[in-house]
Amino acid sequence: MNQLAQNFPSNMLVKKYASEIEAILAKYPFDQKRSAVMPMLYLAQRDGGFVTKQAMHEIGEVLEITATEVASIVGFYSLYYDEPAGKYRVQVCADLPCALRGADEFLQKLCQNLGIKVGETTPDGAVTVESVMCLAGCDKAPMFQVQGAGSANGDDYIAYHENQTVESAMAVVEALRAKK
């Protein structure tokens, strides 16, 4: 039995991901475990689409920090969520360089086609469309990333889709729906 699993017998996150967590901890000095909080939050979030209170407690237990300190990390960084949304988050960059290449119109039309407003989730719960800040894909706008385990590009938790049209984006959405 894995050493971590022995140390934290009632920790569900450890129970499920003991070897992943050991690999994460091995990246940092043994007395700087707190560095593992961000990769561990990704583990927890990939599991349920958002970080539960229980997961924050369990991460804190392993890293010897309080659940409040873990929650502060969830609150500070844009890519962590403490509430559920659609199974996949389609995050369109509408920042200045992308907007100069039509990203605002792209985002509006995509939402129209899906029958939702920016920030909303489709009625089947599959997709939430969001407007996000620069994704370093300015030369390939309109572009978006899909956040959510098992994207169109295999198993990448976050995958980029660039040089998009509303039609190609709808095809990506349909593929995500089919995976559901």
């Binding site: 990246k27 000095p29 700087q32 707190r34 560095s35 593992a36 909080v37 961000m38 990769p39 939050l41 990704y42 890293l63 920090i65 502060s72 990390i73 500070f76 960084y77 844009s78 890519l79 962590y80 920042d95 200045l96 360089p97 907007a99 100069l100 290449r101 996000v132 800040m133 620069c134 994704l135 370093a136 894909g137 300015c138 030369d139 390939k140 706008a141 990333q145 590009n153 990448d156 938790y157 976050i158 995958a159 980029y160």
Partner: protein, 422 residues
């Protein structure tokens, strides 16, 4: 230039598409520089070569790289190196291309830097959105370990080195080096008071060098071919090539590796294919959203893009993320965009930035939506002026560059916006 000479120093995958494979990279001279420095050079001598090359930091500040390395505190150990792969400035997408397509040259540069400052561990801090890039780098690092290029007793010496990737989670501020170190320590990414600077007190309180991805990618060829070779590119004060990320209103946006000192006109027209619809260039932002707005006069278009020349037209070169704005764009719209960005990305640590970006965003939104008055334009100018010089780090200071220069250099756009008020 003959066919035998490579055309790229950094974007070498454009000459050799499979250079992302270790055997191909090695067959083209890869890791010769790393092996040479570890086996035959003193760390201080490596620093001296980089100093002599005149390489300046490519992340935006343009600080001399060799000088930064020489500041490492040799009385405290362990040392760390952190590669800044947070690339979050709107308009910047160069480091991503390097890491995706020429990853070993970057990793070799990181390894040479680590040897030069006697660090045995180095981290690559990537923005969280670069999930796929991190996966590539993890694989390349594993390839290096399997080939004996990382680990203990490298090349039969006592030197050991390990590389690790670390993903952020969506926070522009983490590109600021001390915020990045806080984040890597598992905390909120808020900047530290400097001094002390990271070469004295950095990651885990230990001496640390933080360098941008592009900066590090310059290092292997410098050690391979020498400082004098490097200085054959660029200008005497800004030597070398630079990757210009060209975006916005241009026909061919993308990364262009060109000598420092290339003009805006050549970048936009010769390489970028000009402006869609043959519209005129109205403004140029040479350093992403953090830029001042350059009025695109003939003289400005003929200005050399290097660290010394760009200030002559009232801006900084920064990370060389050149956003082209054409005559169909109104500057009140543009400020509404950049201020939404800075308001979202302010870390909240210091009041001038946290409150200032919030209020600037609301005023700019009002003006852009034709709900503003002439007094609002003056209020925006006043708030920006009150932020100036009072922020804890550069984020807040950069948030006002486009505001102050936009109001000063394009007053007509704001006059029209407020006169359209219903």
């Amino acid at each position: 230039m003959t066919d035998a000479q490579p055309s790229y120093v950094l974007l070498r995958h454009r000459d050799i598409p499979t250079i992302n494979q270790l055997d191909v990279y090695k067959a083209n001279g890869g890791f010769a520089a790393f092996e040479k420095v570890v086996k035959t050079m003193q760390p201080g001598a490596v620093v001296d070569v980089v100093k002599a090359s005149g390489l300046r930091g490519r992340g935006g500040a343009g600080f001399p790289t060799g000088m930064k390395w020489s500041f490492i505190d040799n009385k405290a150990f362990p040392h760390y190196v952190v590669a800044n792969a947070d690339e979050s400035e709107p308009g910047t997408f160069k480091d991503r291309e390097i890491m995706e397509s020429n990853p070993f040259q970057f990793l070799e540069g990181l390894a040479i830097c680590a040897f030069a400052v006697q660090a045995n561990a180095a981290y690559v801090y990537l923005r969280g959105e670069f999930w796929q890039v991190a996966k590539i780098l993890d694989q390349k690092i594993a390839d290096m370990e399997a080939a004996g290029l990382l680990g203990d007793n490298l090349f039969g010496t006592k030197y050991s080195l390990r590389l690790y990737t670390h993903l952020g989670a969506g926070a522009y501020i983490c590109g600021e080096e001390t915020a990045m170190l806080e984040s890597l320590e598992g905390k909120m990414g808020q900047p530290r008071l400097r001094p002390p600077f990271p070469p004295a007190v950095g990651l885990y309180g230990k001496p640390t060098i933080v360098n941008n991805v592009e900066t590090l990618t310059n290092v292997p060829p410098i050690l391979d071919k020498g400082a004098d070779w490097f200085r054959t590119y660029g200008t005497p004060k800004s030597p070398g090539v630079k990757i210009f990320s060209l975006s916005g209103c241009v026909n061919k946006p993308g990364n262009y590796e060109l000598p420092l000192g290339t003009t805006f006109r050549d970048l936009i027209y010769k390489y970028g294919g000009g402006v869609p619809g043959d519209r005129k260039v109205k403004a140029i932002m040479p350093a992403g959203a953090s830029s001042s707005l350059i009025v695109a006069t003939e003289q400005a278009l003929d200005t050399a893009m290097d660290y010394e020349s760009v200030p002559s037209v009232g801006a900084q070169l920064g990370s060389a993320s050149v956003i082209v704005v054409d005559e169909s764009i109104s500057i009140d719209w543009l400020l509404n965009k950049t201020l939404h960005f800075f308001k979202h990305e302010s870390c909240g640590k210091c009041t001038p930035c946290r409150e200032g970006t919030y209020w600037m965003m609301h005023i700019a939104e009002r003006i852009h939506h034709h709900e503003g008055t002439p007094e609002d334009v003056e209020l925006l100018r006043t708030v920006a002026g009150q932020i100036k010089g009072k922020c804890f780090c550069a984020l807040g200071e950069f948030s006002i560059e486009a505001v102050l220069t936009g109001l000063e250099r394009f007053p007509e756009d704001f006059r029209i916006a407020v006169e359209a008020r219903k």
